[in-house]
């Protein structure tokens, strides 16, 4: 197991335990996108490594001089929170408060409770790409060379606002922007093909003027190779869209190949069965 794979295994354990702990939340998409968030935060992104109070990473909301990540499909908050905590933004013990009263780890991410690492609220779908474009435009106005990353779901592509943003970015040369679409083919009511077929998403982004690449989002080697390549693709006049094929529930056999675990928490027995498939690598919180 590589270092990134080892972190990903622990993050998947965190996700399952968080969702189990409050008996709510969205494990499926979180498990599917774990590899991407780990690769971004532990290798790809340039972030401020200065430590502040309590030995945690000091977090500046304005992100000057840093690469930025925006989670548009906010319901996969468990993976976001785990990765932020494991990266050092706050105590991993706080993961136990997920979705509980008075927590900073709200059901969907928010800046409102002051959790380090979060720059925008998300949850109501379709808004994150617009925010990421705005942040990318600000970087350009400020003369910063950093990259802005955004992750969306494939079901989310059914929101109209996504396509307002998709049309705007290439027309305005927002080429410091990388948008990932988590193509897991599932949404709450079933497969995306059945609920409201997105058809060929890559072709659509291409037609709007994006540079489109594809990747297996659950293959860490392929993912990190692509991310290295992306650093050379930015700044060339086009925004970059990554059609990232993932498996909802990746890493837990009985959660895969179905939309069933989009927003359902495992019971005690299911948790035990799931954790048995994921080595504890960094110590559970």
């Amino acid at each position: 197991m590589t270092e990134l794979q080892s972190i990903a295994s622990q993050v998947r354990r965190d996700i399952l335990r968080m969702v189990h702990g409050c008996q709510s939340g969205h494990p499926g998409g979180s498990l599917g996108c774990t590899d991407l968030l780990v690769a971004l935060y532990f290798q790809q992104m340039k972030i401020n490594n200065r430590k502040g109070k309590g030995g945690y990473l000091s977090f500046n909301l304005d992100g000057k001089g840093e690469d930025l990540f925006f989670l548009s499909n906010g319901h996969i908050s468990p993976v976001f929170y785990s990765v932020l905590a494991r990266r050092g933004y706050f105590d991993v013990k706080e993961l136990a408060t997920f979705r509980k009263i008075n927590t900073r780890l709200q059901g969907h991410p928010t800046t409102h409770e002051g959790l380090p690492g979060i720059r925008i609220a998300s949850g109501s779908l379709g808004q994150g790409l617009s925010v990421a474009i705005g942040a990318a435009l600000a970087k350009k106005l400020n003369g910063e060379k950093n990259i802005v990353y955004c992750l969306m779901g494939d079901g989310e592509q059914q929101e109209g606002q996504v396509w307002e943003a998709v049309q705007f970015a290439p027309n305005n040369n927002v080429d410091n922007l990388v948008a990932f679409v988590d193509v897991n083919g599932q949404q709450i009511d079933g497969s995306t093909n059945k609920v409201n077929n997105n058809r060929d998403l890559g072709a659509k982004y291409k037609a709007f003027g994006w540079r489109v690449v594809t990747v297996d989002g659950n293959n860490m080697d392929e993912l990190t190779t692509l991310l290295r390549k992306i650093k050379r693709l930015v700044g060339k006049g086009q925004p970059i869209a990554v059609m990232m094929k993932t498996e909802m529930g990746q890493g837990v056999d009985f959660m895969m190949h179905s939309h069933k675990w989009h927003g359902v928490a495992p019971n005690d027995a299911q948790l035990e069965q799931a954790l048995a498939q994921l080595p504890e690598t960094l110590g559970d919180y």
Partner: protein, 318 residues
């Protein structure tokens, strides 16, 4: 009655444009955004002088609000502009999540609010925006009354840190406030001190209230007129002090009776001593096509209507 005169009539949206021109010259972080209505929002001067700080969004208001939220993360002060209808109801969820709940320093600056948009009719005549915006935690809601006040308010909201909904309009109306005024967010402006009835007016209704005050004076009624340019946060102290003195009130706004300025005042007063209150507002109805003057008359938003409402309020005091 204090005398108010004017030498010219101008639209409040031009006051916004003038304020933006000043901000373009004085505040390098100010960014103007527009959804295909540059001429209507009077942004030409800002764009000419600061082309790199103007973002043409096209007819994509939801994306504009989201991008505005993103721009604040890099320290920018975005003014997202369009018609009031498209900058409030159409994008309510975007404002709610990406701006208000996210505590973003976005200025939503919107023109053509209310009936006085005129001939375009009800599809464009938003009369519910104050209610929607007022309901959002942390949102500041401002509806200035003339060209000069709108210009001053535009400059003031750039200096204020936090989300703002700044609402203005299309018709030309008298310019009667000071050209060099300092705009204080949340501080009511005493237009005329009086003793018999308080008239709390916002936006285009302030000039109507002044005319109403003169008509009432001719009948021996001494009206106190206060301009509530900031609907949220409401200047509670000024309102309470006034009604305690006069014992009754009229609220006047170019908005639905539900949820606007009158509602805000009623919510305040009912928690203490309630006073007879009459509402000058649109009474649960959509607008329609017509000239601004015809519409204001048909929907009961003129000085004459305020006079009648003031008399009703006074009669209810006994």
């Amino acid at each position: 009655m204090k005398k108010y005169t004017f030498t010219e009539k101008k639209d409040t949206r031009s006051g916004f444009g003038a304020g933006m021109q000043v901000l373009g010259q004085t505040n390098p972080n100010v960014v103007a955004m527009c959804a295909d209505l540059v001429g209507s929002l009077k942004l030409d001067a800002f764009i000419k002088e600061n082309p790199e700080r103007f973002i043409q969004c096209g007819i994509s208001e939801a994306n504009m609000i989201g991008m505005a939220a993103g721009l604040t993360i890099g320290g920018k002060i975005p003014f997202a502009t369009t018609f009031a209808n498209f900058g409030s109801g159409r994008v309510y969820d975007q404002i709610r999540q990406s701006v208000a709940y996210s505590d973003k320093n976005v200025k939503i600056a919107v023109s053509h609010a209310g009936l006085t948009l005129g001939e375009d009719g009800a599809t464009h005549q938003i009369l519910e925006d104050l209610a929607m915006m007022r309901a959002l935690p942390g949102m500041t809601v401002i509806n200035p009354c003339d060209y000069n006040q709108t210009k001053a308010a535009t400059i003031a909201v750039a200096e204020y840190e936090g989300p703002v909904y700044l609402r203005f309009g299309r018709p030309v109306i008298p310019v009667f406030t000071d050209a060099d005024q300092k705009f204080e967010i949340g501080k009511a402006w005493m237009v005329n001190e009086g003793t018999d009835v308080s008239i709390f007016a916002t936006g285009h209704l302030v000039w109507e209230a002044i005319q109403a005050g003169e008509m009432l004076e001719a009948e021996g009624i001494n009206a106190e007129i206060i301009n509530i340019h900031t609907i949220k946060p409401l200047d509670e102290k000024a309102i309470l002090k006034s009604v305690k003195k006069t014992g009754c009130l009229v609220s006047a706004e170019e908005h639905q009776v539900a949820g606007g300025l009158g509602s805000a005042i009623a919510e305040l007063l009912i928690q203490g001593t309630p006073y007879p209150q009459e509402f000058i507002a649109v009474k649960d109805s959509f607008g329609e096509s017509g000239t601004p003057a015809q519409l204001m008359e048909k929907y009961g938003l003129t000085a004459n209507d305020i006079v009648a409402a003031a008399k009703r309020a006074i009669a209810r005091k006994k």
